[in-house]
Symmetry: C2
Subunit: 324 residues, 2 copies
């Protein structure tokens, strides 16, 4: 038979459709008898609440858009897994938007999410040109990104992470450590700390930025050129994949690690911790970042009047491996 | 002002709501004049088609549920990114279900997806107890998993992959290579090929299975115990993370690689190819698997009568590194 509908349940229970929807939404006064009759009708018919019909009543889709560069990157894969688990616990579903570091695609997604009336958005991309977030009238939470418009940011303590990494390289004897990062803008706190620590030791900073949309092969070529031309004796890479590229370059060119080149990465995703335990890296609390972002967007949906104080950055730690 | 609704557009254009919905869905006869008036009203009001209302008309949610163990795993992260991009090109959105290798959670998701009337499902989990897929009256596509009930499977050529890996280990001089895999069931084609190649060389197979839901630390302990107690001179790990665990164990225990222990992994996700280019591994066509799964589920939604012939397995290749 055709899938049972709300009015089939109402007819079977001998009540109105409105009453059935009240039972489903647990709203308004309902006698025990009515609840029991509707419940029995639902069981007998094998009725499943139709999400589309319910969202029309509640004006809620139960969906949260999650916009990331790509879950193929282990940092974002782990982050999205944590966001999804956190949202599921709060009763929300995750609409994944994997925008491939492409600002146009990100702007399209943002439009689509608003058209689809998602209940909220979590964004963690790096596209700095997308300003539409400021105009969106939805609860939005950013992860490690400055979006503007009073949108709260959940992030790790990048200031401390940059300081720990740079101080460690210097403590291990590096005098010409290069910083390799995605973009060298004013909001890059890891780069700011690198510069501060270098300055406090009277050393000249060497900052190289490859740009977020640079392909992997091109990034590898840039990293190899920079390490070579700066005569670097250390490298602070603000992500682990770039650190592993430096490690491979050292192997290929016969440099000893850490003797000739000290290497420190950043992120410490589970994949890197498991697969490359020898890499010295700054470990971000990825699961906590995802969980906090999920809770914060759910809080803002469920209590739009709630004032959101600035989020304190979550602590990071330096894990020592054999690369430094 | 409040967000403009369908009836606001209809009033402004001087047509009925039905006519506006026809324009939005591009359905039925419409004069150029009516199209122009509705278009102008949409522009003037800044109307965005309400997805909830549209799906009520079309009885389509535009959502596909994508069920995976976890996108924190680089293979599944890369697979989901490819599925998402493929679905987006076909006009579908991705509802991510990250079920953490938990059969109960997977069954809950399956129920939830049906209740939410997703248009279809792509599943790539390993939970063998979940039989509800066979009863679901939705287009479903499986990736590298036997679900039953005539559900098509998109997969890499595991038979060939297992053969290439095992033959390579033997060609490099291994006489006691151990197979480390997740589960040793009849559908494990990589294990079947390992056994065949070993038998054809008159060698006894050594198969060890850790179980999908085994935690990382426990898996690592098992792998180390097995490598030690089998006096293995080679290891074929049916995923790259397990191969990297074997590599780390060799470093820790002073064994040379590949002299004492030859190591071959499986999957070849981008993360592993970039971060650990020295690992010999069987490279799966992850992007093609994801894209094919997306197209196949979209085809089945858009033409439910279409007969789906068995999917030929997609080709894999052995990439040589220094670990073998």
């Amino acid at each position: 038979m055709a899938r049972p509908k709300l009015h089939d349940v109402a007819a079977r229970a001998g009540v109105s459709v409105t009453t059935v929807s009240r039972v489903l939404n647990n709203r308004g006064y309902l006698s025990d008898d009515v609840r029991a009759r509707v419940g029995a009708a639902i069981d007998e018919l094998g009725y499943r609440p139709d999400a589309i019909a319910r969202s029309l009543i509640r004006r809620r889709s139960g969906l949260i858009g999650v916009i990331v560069p790509t879950v193929a990157d282990p940092f974002f894969g782990e982050l999205v897994a944590a966001i999804e688990h956190g949202l599921a616990e709060r009763g929300y579903k995750t609409l994944l938007c994997d925008c491939q570091e492409n600002p146009e695609r990100e702007a399209e997604y943002l439009d689509l999410l608003q058209a689809n009336r998602v209940d909220g958005i979590v964004t963690s991309t790096h596209n700095r040109g997308v300003t539409a977030y400021e105009d969106a009238d939805l609860p939005i939470v950013a992860v490690d990104r400055r979006v503007g418009g009073g949108i709260p940011i959940v992030r790790g303590d990048n200031r401390t992470g940059g300081r720990l990494a740079t101080e460690h390289l210097l403590a291990r004897g590096a005098r010409a450590p290069v910083l390799v990062t995605a973009t060298d803008h004013e909001g890059n706190d890891r780069a700011a700390s690198y510069r501060e620590v270098m300055a406090s030791h009277g050393l000249a900073p060497r900052v190289r930025a490859y740009g977020y949309s640079t392909g992997i092969d091109e990034r590898r070529a840039l990293v190899e050129t920079w390490l070579s031309e700066t005569a670097a004796d250390g490298v602070f890479a603000t992500d682990d994949l770039t650190a592993l590229m430096a490690l491979e370059w050292a192997h290929k060119t016969g440099r000893s690690v850490p003797g000739d080149l000290r290497i420190v990465g950043y992120d410490g995703s589970a994949v890197v911790r498991w697969g490359m335990p020898g890499l010295t890296t700054v470990i971000q609390p990825i699961a906590r970042l995802g969980r906090r972002a999920a809770d914060l967007v759910a809080d803002r949906i469920e209590d739009p009047e709630r004032l959101t104080p600035a989020e304190p950055p979550l602590p990071v730690e330096l894990r020592l491996g054999w690369t430094s």
